[in-house]
Amino acid sequence: MAERLLELDGVSLAFGGLRCVSDLDLHVDEGEIVSVIGPNGAGKTTLFNLITGIYEPDEGDIRLAGESIVGLQPHQITRRGIARTFQTLRLFLNLTVKENVMTAAYGHTKAGIFRSMLRTPGMRREEREISELANQKLAFFGERLMGYRWNQPAYSLSYANRRRLEIARATATNPRLLLLDEPAAGMNPVETHEITELIGKLRTEGGYTILVIEHDMHVVEGISDRVIALDHGTKIAEGTFVEVATNQGVIEAYLGLGTAETK
């Protein structure tokens, strides 16, 4: 059995009186691609925020490769090997495309302020490595983010390219686990198809374990080893895509009570 990379154990979170996540158990094995689906407000992005340390769970534990990461600062969690993209795109718009990716290498580099001021050979070597790393990560997307694009400000990119850049930036942290929050949102069918291939490529060529939040069922079908359905902060179904898509509770959650019977 593959090693459990990520494990959530009875995690609960409430804001004021609103329970966002209720006693959630979840796991992702090394090398898997798991999709999380559910209607809006189900707690999917909250789940990501919990995993990356932006929120701290009221109850329960979150473990990465067996070690608890609850209570750690987000940047510490990232250094342990979790990276994410954002539902609403949070690029560094006024930095260049390449700089966006290079910034993410901060966590695994170490030249400090003084060494940077003096430009020691060690620092210069590290800079070259960071630059190489950025080139590699950007090259993953073919020609789209290559060439003269490297020195363009990120705000000059089209929407689809921005999404790709965000994924490239996340991979530059050298993570083990990649959390993609609605990577296909707002894309046309051609781009969606491309994203689906890309996520597969991320696993096979990049070796990342991937947890994806997605609404587009074509994408979910195309990539997932396993699907988890959430509603109102709890897990209502888990299994292969077919199992979950035909699950009565899931249909109810998406389409309402009446339709479940007609399906």
């Binding site: 804001f15 992005t45 925020n49 932006i54 954002f86």
Partner: protein, 324 residues
């Protein structure tokens, strides 16, 4: 640089601690009302525009100057051509009206073009307006002090009348000042919470774009806010100058303090601005009385810094929860 409240004309015995305390509290309440009015302007404008209007203190200063001008035009404190009560009313109204106009002009020319600019732009513009206003007044009127000489009004009657609280004389002028400040605050509260325009103001302060999409005329709401806030600053200017001589550079320090009061009370909250103003005025007064004037500023700033660190939303403010 000190705009410390001058001691009341009545005597106080430093040994008589209760009387001293009452006297200090009175001073605190009086200057606190001024700070509260200024704070209200800050809070209103920040609520609607999310802008720290650094020029607000200088609007306050212009108000005090306008009041002085009208006072002199009506004969001055010694020989007014109208009854004293009418004199005070006219002076205050003139200052309020003049400041309202000034506020509208500032908004129109210095802030409106920057509605969609990065957050820092209107802030810098506000600093520029502040520089411009205070130095313009200094250029035109000099750096000297202008005294309303209010103790000359009806031969000092405003000071001699009043009532005595445990051997401490509370002059009529103080009562008028504090009372009218309070009345203005009540009117403001009413305007913001019980009228349609007030509701539009509150909606705009929550979410400007959404309010616009619901048919609220954002420009008018903002202009209205500036009118209100600046008018209050004008009134505060008159009340201030009735007790202490005014000068061109007073805008910065008083503005800063009014601003401190708004932050302590919770920026965006009207009761907060009022409470913050009174608290600040009293803190200043007690420190100046029981310790020394020099360090009262230090105490005030330290309180503020502590507040910002431990309770940035102030006493009544809301914590901003933003969804990630």
């Amino acid at each position: 640089m000190s705009d410390r409240p001058t001691p009341s004309l009545s005597k106080h015995y430093p040994g008589e601690s209760l009387q001293f305390f009452i006297q200090l509290s009175l001073d605190g309440l009086t200057i606190g009302s001024v700070y509260a009015l200024v704070a209200l302007g800050y809070t209103l404008i920040y609520g609607v525009l999310k802008l720290l209007n650094f020029a607000h203190g200088d609007v306050f200063m212009v108000g005090s100057f306008i009041g002085y001008g009208v006072l002199q035009a009506l004969g001055g404190a010694s020989n007014p051509v109208v009854p004293v009560w009418l004199l005070l009313v006219l002076v205050t109204l003139a200052a309020m009206a003049g400041c309202a106009v000034l506020g509208v002009v500032i908004e129109r020319f210095a802030y409106r073009p920057l509605r969609n600019a990065p957050r820092i732009a209107p802030l810098i513009s506000a600093l520029g307006v502040s520089f411009f206003l205070s130095n313009s007044m200094q250029l035109e009127f000099g750096a000297q002090q202008f005294n309303y000489a209010s103790y000359n009004l009806s031969g000092g009657a405003l000071y001699f009348h009043g009532f005595d609280l445990d051997h401490v004389h509370i002059p009529l002028l103080r009562i008028i000042t504090i009372g009218s400040a309070f009345a203005l605050m009540v009117v403001l509260w009413f305007l913001v919470n019980r009228t349609r325009t007030g509701k539009a103001m509150r909606a705009t302060s929550f979410d400007r774009e959404a309010a616009a999409m619901l048919g609220i005329d954002i420009d008018r709401v903002i202009v209205f806010t500036f009118i209100l806030g600046s008018a209050l600053a004008g009134a505060a200017g008159v009340m201030f100058a009735l007790r202490v001589p005014t000068f061109a550079a007073v805008g910065f320090t008083t503005g800063l303090k009014g601003f401190t009061a708004a932050v302590i009370g919770g920026i965006g909250s009207i009761p907060g601005a009022m409470v913050g103003g009174i608290l600040l005025g009293c803190a200043e007064s007690y420190t100046a009385g029981y310790w020394t004037t020099a360090w009262s500023d230090l105490v005030v700033f330290s309180i503020l810094i502590a507040f910002m660190i431990f309770r940035p939303q102030g006493l009544f403010g809301r914590v901003d929860i933003r969804k990630v």
